[in-house]
């Protein structure tokens, strides 16, 4: 089983490495870059909403602050572009602590409300502080990332950088999920009173989860801004927060693999469906709905269930079983 899994991962890895070389289409490369950014943000959201079970609807605000912090540093202060990366982590840390401290002490729906409020406040400030942020016309001419004089100025070059970063952050996220922290996060989701009774400071751990979510979100925003070259506040609306939530739900809550699958699917599917012209968004929504109804635990549950039920992942085995059952029914 483990061998198959590793072989599959290596295969996907090789395919992804080879993809931009085989397919020179800039549109496809640009889409894949967006997928990498979305994977990073969703893995962050997974810490607080997926694992800890605290509904965060402010991802757009976090993402926007990460994006704007780096964009404004580069364009106003002309700092080197890579500085944006530690700045994004710092901003994420500040959001996590600053917003998490007051809002994670309240329970249930109030967290959703404070996070929605936060993201709207961010958007309105970005829209109205015209002299500082450029207002609704946004920030133009944001430079591309460069490292040691090498500029990542085409989707092809950006692809490999973001691919590498996404892998590193995914490994980090997967380690956190299966660490002590990850298990406490899950325990808080399942029964926070019991966790508290064990002598664990629940509020503090929630803030920790939220801080990690904010850091991942801000890194995503930083990567997004240097990929797009232009940002304006209209993109960072409530739809964006919900979109990230949908990615997490579709892929699989609480699992890094699920987050990756969800981000890939929700980013690519509407683009694949574009050939349907006026109906593409309708069809996309219907497919999303089908997934939500039939696979409430996400795409990843398809693989997990079979693992637990049948000890090993063997689709032929289950098909054989199923045909036996169906055959038995037909015989009756």
């Amino acid at each position: 089983m483990k061998k198959i899994k590793i072989a599959l991962m290596v295969l996907v890895f090789v395919l992804l490495i080879a993809f931009p070389m085989l397919d020179g289409n800039l549109y496809h490369q640009q889409l894949m870059n967006q997928v990498f950014v979305n994977i990073i943000v969703v893995m962050g959201l997974n810490f607080i909403t997926g694992l800890t079970g605290q509904m965060n609807l402010g991802t757009a605000g976090i993402f926007a602050l990460g994006a704007y912090a780096s964009a404004l540093m580069c364009t106003k202060l002309h700092t080197p572009v890579w500085i944006g990366f530690p700045i994004a982590i710092l901003v994420g840390f500040l959001i996590g602590r600053g917003l998490g401290y007051p809002s994670l002490r309240v329970k249930g729906v109030y967290l959703s409300l404070t996070t929605i409020g936060f993201s709207e406040v961010v958007r309105l400030i970005l829209t109205n502080a015209i002299d500082f942020t450029g207002g609704s016309q946004g920030v133009q001419n944001i430079p591309f990332l460069n490292l040691f004089g090498f500029e990542f100025n085409t989707p092809f070059k950006i692809y490999y950088l973001y691919f590498g970063l996404a892998i590193i952050l995914a490994i980090a996220a997967a380690r956190v999920v299966s660490s002590k922290w990850g298990r406490v996060f899950k325990a808080i989701r399942d029964n926070s009173d019991a966790v508290e009774a064990c002598g664990i400071d629940v509020a503090n751990l929630k803030i920790l989860a939220f801080t990690m979510a904010a850091i991942y979100g801000c890194i995503g925003g930083f990567l997004y801004t240097h990929m797009m070259g232009y940002i304006n506040p209209t993109a960072f609306n409530q739809d964006l927060s919900v979109n990230y939530l949908v990615m997490m739900m579709i892929g699989g809550i609480g699992s890094v693999a699920g987050n990756i699958l969800g981000a890939v699917m929700v980013t690519l599917l509407p683009e694949i469906l574009r050939f349907m012209q006026n109906y593409y968004w309708l069809i996309f929504s219907i497919i999303t709905l089908i997934f939500a109804v039939f696979l409430p635990n996400g795409i990843v549950s398809l693989f997990k269930k079979s693992e637990r039920q049948e000890k090993h992942f063997n689709i032929f085995h289950s098909i054989k079983k199923a045909t036996e059952v169906w055959g038995g029914r037909l015989a009756k």
């Binding site: 640009q30 889409l31 016309q137 050939f275 012209q277 269930k305």
Partner: protein
């Protein structure tokens, strides 16, 4: 015995469930693969639509196809604009094909929904630009979307025609961007010019919104008034303000002869209402907002009577072309055309003309043809390209009479 039976039944249902799950997954995966396969070859077949069918019926022969891309916000925050855009373009394409197409070839469109959202705009224009058959793009239409798409289209060397009116578009230095509506700076200058030359104002009041649009307009108006030596008073307000008494009383006490109001939809309605309530009784020239239906619906007839407004396309324009277009559009779609329909209908003809002048369906040749546009008639004026790639240098001055905007004058500025 019974227990064993229920157990096996239970077992059967779980197996059944997982079987069902896998089938669902398999079907979905197949759907995806299938749709992806379709996506690859849909580009030529899916886009031609009814025009080719009707022409095939008419027995006309085309020597190949010329594809133009359309990036419009069909879903998203302003879907109505996207729908009208598409209707306008489709109507023009059908007419052009009925007359024999362009360079003997059939004109077809490839549409990409940009959702009026900057991330999606990038994908939409990337998709259009990655199709080597697309020779030019109509849209994206919001100034913000244009800024997002600008770099991509510049690198891909695809000429695109946009309705964005922000003066900031002048500064991005993209020779592939063509602007098909008068820049806000042109409209503002027209308003100031009319106040001084036609209304004979000796002192002008300016009421402006403190956002990009308002402050930009105010700057242009002040520059013009300074140039011609007319004193002025400027009073600003913010988006969402509910009371402008202070600002209006100031203008009133300064004894201005005319007021130019440069603000957005909701604030335009508020300004008009409060001007009336506070008996300003001076001629008022406003930005485009006041001549649109959604703003006129917010104001009482008496309050807005006699207001002037600067705009580029109005359906009540008495010119034969506009009236003819309005009638045909109404007959075809059962709805009155708006600015989006009119301008995009008109620009499709401009693009067809540019392709004809270029003599070949080549991106660079079309860009050069568009950049040397001279005296091409359109619904909102005559298209003349200047060094900024702005194509329209005239505005209609309308006066609101019984809530209907009546065109009273067309004012042009110099082509730079």
């Amino acid at each position: 015995m019974k227990k064993v039976e229920t157990m096996s039944a239970h077992c059967a249902t779980t197996v059944n469930k997982s079987w069902f799950r896998k089938i669902t997954a398999l079907v979905m995966a197949l759907c995806l693969t299938f749709s992806y396969g379709c996506a690859g070859n849909s580009q030529s077949s899916g886009t031609s639509g009814s025009p080719s069918a009707s022409n095939a019926a008419a027995g006309k022969k085309f020597d190949g196809k010329i594809t133009i891309g359309v990036s419009a916000g069909i879903t998203g925050s302003i879907p109505m604009a996207g729908e009208r855009t598409l209707q306008g373009v489709k109507m023009a394409v059908e007419e052009i094909n009925a007359k024999g197409g362009v360079l003997g070839k059939e004109l077809v469109i490839e549409v990409a929904d940009d959702q009026s959202n900057q991330s999606v705009v990038i994908n939409a224009v990337n998709k259009l630009a990655s199709n080597p058959d697309v020779v030019a793009i109509i849209g994206p239409h919001l100034s913000g979307s244009v800024m997002a798409a600008s770099d991509t289209l510049k690198k891909a060397k695809v000429p695109f025609l946009s309705q964005g009116t922000s003066p900031k578009l002048r500064t991005i230095g993209n020779e592939y961007l063509f602007k098909i509506r008068p820049c806000d700076a042109i409209s503002a200058e027209v308003a100031a010019k009319y106040a001084v030359e036609d209304l004979g104002a000796k002192k002008v009041g300016i009421s402006y919104n403190n956002n990009d649009f308002g402050v930009g307009g105010k700057g242009v108006i002040e520059a013009y008034l300074t140039k011609v030596g007319i004193p002025f008073v400027s009073e600003g307000h913010n988006s969402g303000d509910k009371d402008l008494t202070g600002q209006i009383m100031k203008l009133k006490n300064e004894n201005v002869d005319a007021v130019i109001s440069w603000t957005d939809d909701a604030e335009s309605a508020l300004t008009a209402r409060q001007f009336y309530e506070l008996h300003l009784n001076k001629p008022v020239i406003t930005s485009t907002a006041t001549s649109t239906k959604q703003v006129l619906d917010l104001i009482d007839e008496k309050a807005v009577e006699g207001f002037y407004s600067v705009c580029d396309f109005v359906i009540t324009d008495p010119s034969a072309e506009v009236q003819d277009f309005a009638k045909r559009f109404q007959a075809k779609y059962g709805i009155a055309p708006d600015q989006y329909a009119g301008n995009n209908y008109s620009v499709t003809y401009l693009l067809a003309d540019a392709i004809t002048r270029a003599g070949k369906a080549d991106r660079e040749a079309i860009r050069e043809a568009l950049a040397s546009t001279k005296g091409v008639k359109g619904l909102s004026g005559t298209y003349n390209a200047d060094s900024n790639n702005e194509l329209i240098h005239e505005c209609k001055l309308v006066q609101i009479k019984s809530k209907v905007p009546q065109v009273i004058k067309t004012i042009s500025v110099d082509v730079k």
